[in-house]
């Protein structure tokens, strides 16, 4: 064979075969993949314009607008956009078949899923920091335009808890995306599940207590009520089992066993 005749020194530009990439490197790559496609850029622009609309609109709703309320309202569009991002983080890999190059470079699929989850949580907090950070000067400007006095009573713990709850919802969206591997279906379910449960509560008020255990919105209610009772925590726990833990297990098994083609 000719192989033995070729000295290794003849090889040009040899890059030492690197060690296994660290998890932070994989997380950075997955974070970047959340925002570097055309779809992601369009989604971000829609989120931005909706946020601006919500910000402007909130000044017409109330005369004495509190900063806390303003920050909560202007955070709504971003929270919905982030949910679609959670779904698409996994479904777009399979619909565009970009999963193939991804797993050629990182064959450990569980590691890629973990990195995606971490990137989504980081993205949720980053978006919240940016939206709220821009929200404060926007609020001051709005108050000044209306000739009102600013009301500075922000419940920062509540805002932080809401961001944390949001990152849980993003992970739920991601898990559902893994199970279905169908972006449109998963996005419709994620965005309509809360309204579905409010319809169910109205339709069967006598079952309200049982429904609260199944309702993915229990977590949002927990944060909003800020009473943190044991009963509420139990509801949240059962809800997390149904909407996060089970889909995450089923989805991970599905992706690990899937033939990437």
């Amino acid at each position: 064979m000719t192989a033995t005749a070729i000295p290794t020194a003849h090889r040009r530009n040899r890059i030492a075969p690197g060690a296994r990439p660290g998890l932070t490197r994989t997380i950075r790559v997955e974070f970047r993949k959340l925002v570097d496609s055309r779809a992601a850029i369009i989604t971000a622009l829609i989120g931005l314009s909706l946020t601006a609309t919500f910000a402007a609109g909130s000044f017409f709703v109330k005369d004495h607008l509190k900063l806390d309320y303003f920050l909560t309202v202007t955070g709504v569009p971003a929270s919905l956009i982030i949910l679609t991002m959670g779904v698409m983080a996994i479904t777009s890999e399979y619909s565009t078949r970009a999963a193939m190059p991804t797993h050629l470079l990182e064959p450990n699929r569980a590691r890629v899923l973990l990195a995606k989850a971490a990137a989504l949580v980081a993205m949720t907090f980053l978006v919240n920091i940016v939206v709220k950070g821009l929200g404060v000067p926007a609020y001051l400007a709005g108050v000044a335009i209306r000739g009102a006095e600013p009301v500075w009573d922000v419940d920062w713990f509540g805002q932080l808890a809401a961001s944390a709850a949001q990152s849980v919802y993003v992970l739920e969206a991601f898990a559902l995306g893994m199970v279905l591997l169908n972006g449109p279906a998963a996005i419709v379910i994620v965005l309509s599940e809360t309204s579905l449960f409010s319809v169910l509560r109205t339709a069967m008020p006598e079952r309200a207590e049982q429904l609260a255990y199944l309702d993915p919105g229990s977590l949002a209610n927990l944060v909003e009520n800020a009473t943190y009772t044991a009963a509420e925590w139990t509801q949240v726990g059962v809800g997390l089992l149904i909407w996060l833990v089970l889909p995450a297990i089923v989805g991970t098994v599905r992706i690990l066993r899937k033939e990437v083609a």
């Binding site: 064979m1 000719t2 192989a3 005749a5 070729i6 290794t8 003849h10 090889r11 040009r12 530009n13 040899r14 890059i15 030492a16 075969p17 690197g18 060690a19 296994r20 990439p21 490197r25 994989t26 950075r28 790559v29 970047r32 993949k33 570097d36 496609s37 055309r38 779809a39 992601a40 777009s92 565009t96 078949r97 970009a98 999963a99 193939m100 190059p101 797993h103 050629l104 470079l105 990182e106 064959p107 450990n108 033939e259 990437v260 083609a261």
Partner: protein, 242 residues
């Protein structure tokens, strides 16, 4: 070095079981180019997917440098694989696709420029979204990505699809240079003329089995042309299957 030994893949079970590849066995030595030749549906892509850890074998094994693909510490720096040029996010630009791969492998930005130049994609083309690319441009982008980590082994599934005649000549010269530099090159094709001029060895598969393998002059020793041999073998294999 690529070693494929008794590799078998079955889909389904019981009476509906389909054998996609059946005890496929061949090696690719460093410094050589092996052409993996067979008609559509012969099992070439299935073999390459298993070799690259994207699918599991039912039995047998496929090793690169003595280890399964999934055990390679940083596969992009050992193996440059292009299994499907269309399997790329169309909403990203070509250069962004390469930057993501470079970040995953852990090589610098300069490698991105080097491989773009090596495959003949201009800066302006690289800044366009992949959705605007022709198949030939996607092949070039995929080959660029395969070269990014300066790997010892190249595995390319139908890389000539969509390339124009100049592109095919370019690819042939590129792969010859890589092999002459000591790299192990495995490329598949369903077109005989794409591989006969470039491959040091040819492995002919049909209906999931290796039908013949050897250097082109060994295969034609019986006085039969390579084309006649290829057609006879693959048509016979299809007849036996039916």
């Amino acid at each position: 070095m690529i070693e494929i030994n008794e590799l078998t893949k079955c889909y389904g079970s019981g009476p509906r079981q389909v054998v996609a590849i059946d005890r496929v066995t061949f090696d690719v030595e460093p410094g050589t180019i092996v052409g993996f030749l067979g008609p559509n549906g012969a099992g070439k892509s299935t073999t390459l997917r298993i070799l690259c850890g994207l699918a599991d074998a039912t039995s047998g094994h496929a090793l690169i440098g003595g280890s399964p693909y999934r055990d390679l510490p940083n596969p992009g720096s050992t193996v440059g694989a292009l299994l499907d040029a269309s399997a790329v996010h169309p909403g990203r630009t070509g250069i962004e696709t390469l930057k993501l791969a470079a970040a995953t492998i852990g090589v610098g930005r300069d490698r991105v420029d080097t491989v773009l130049a090596a495959v003949g994609l201009t800066k302006a083309e690289a800044r366009r979204r992949v959705s605007t690319y022709s198949l030939g441009m996607r092949q070039r982008l995929g080959i660029a990505q395969a070269l990014l980590g300066d790997p010892d082994v190249l595995i390319l599934d139908e890389p000539a699809n969509g390339l124009d005649p100049q592109g095919i000549v370019w690819l042939r010269r590129l792969l010859r240079r890589e092999a002459d530099a000591g790299r192990t090159v495995l490329l598949s094709s369903h077109q005989l003329h794409e591989v006969e001029e470039i491959a040091d060895r040819i492995v002919i598969v049909g209906n999931g089995r290796v039908l013949a393998q050897g250097a082109p002059d060994e295969l034609t020793r019986g006085g039969q042309s390579l084309e006649d041999l290829f057609l006879e073998l693959t048509i016979n294999a299809q007849r036996t299957a039916a």
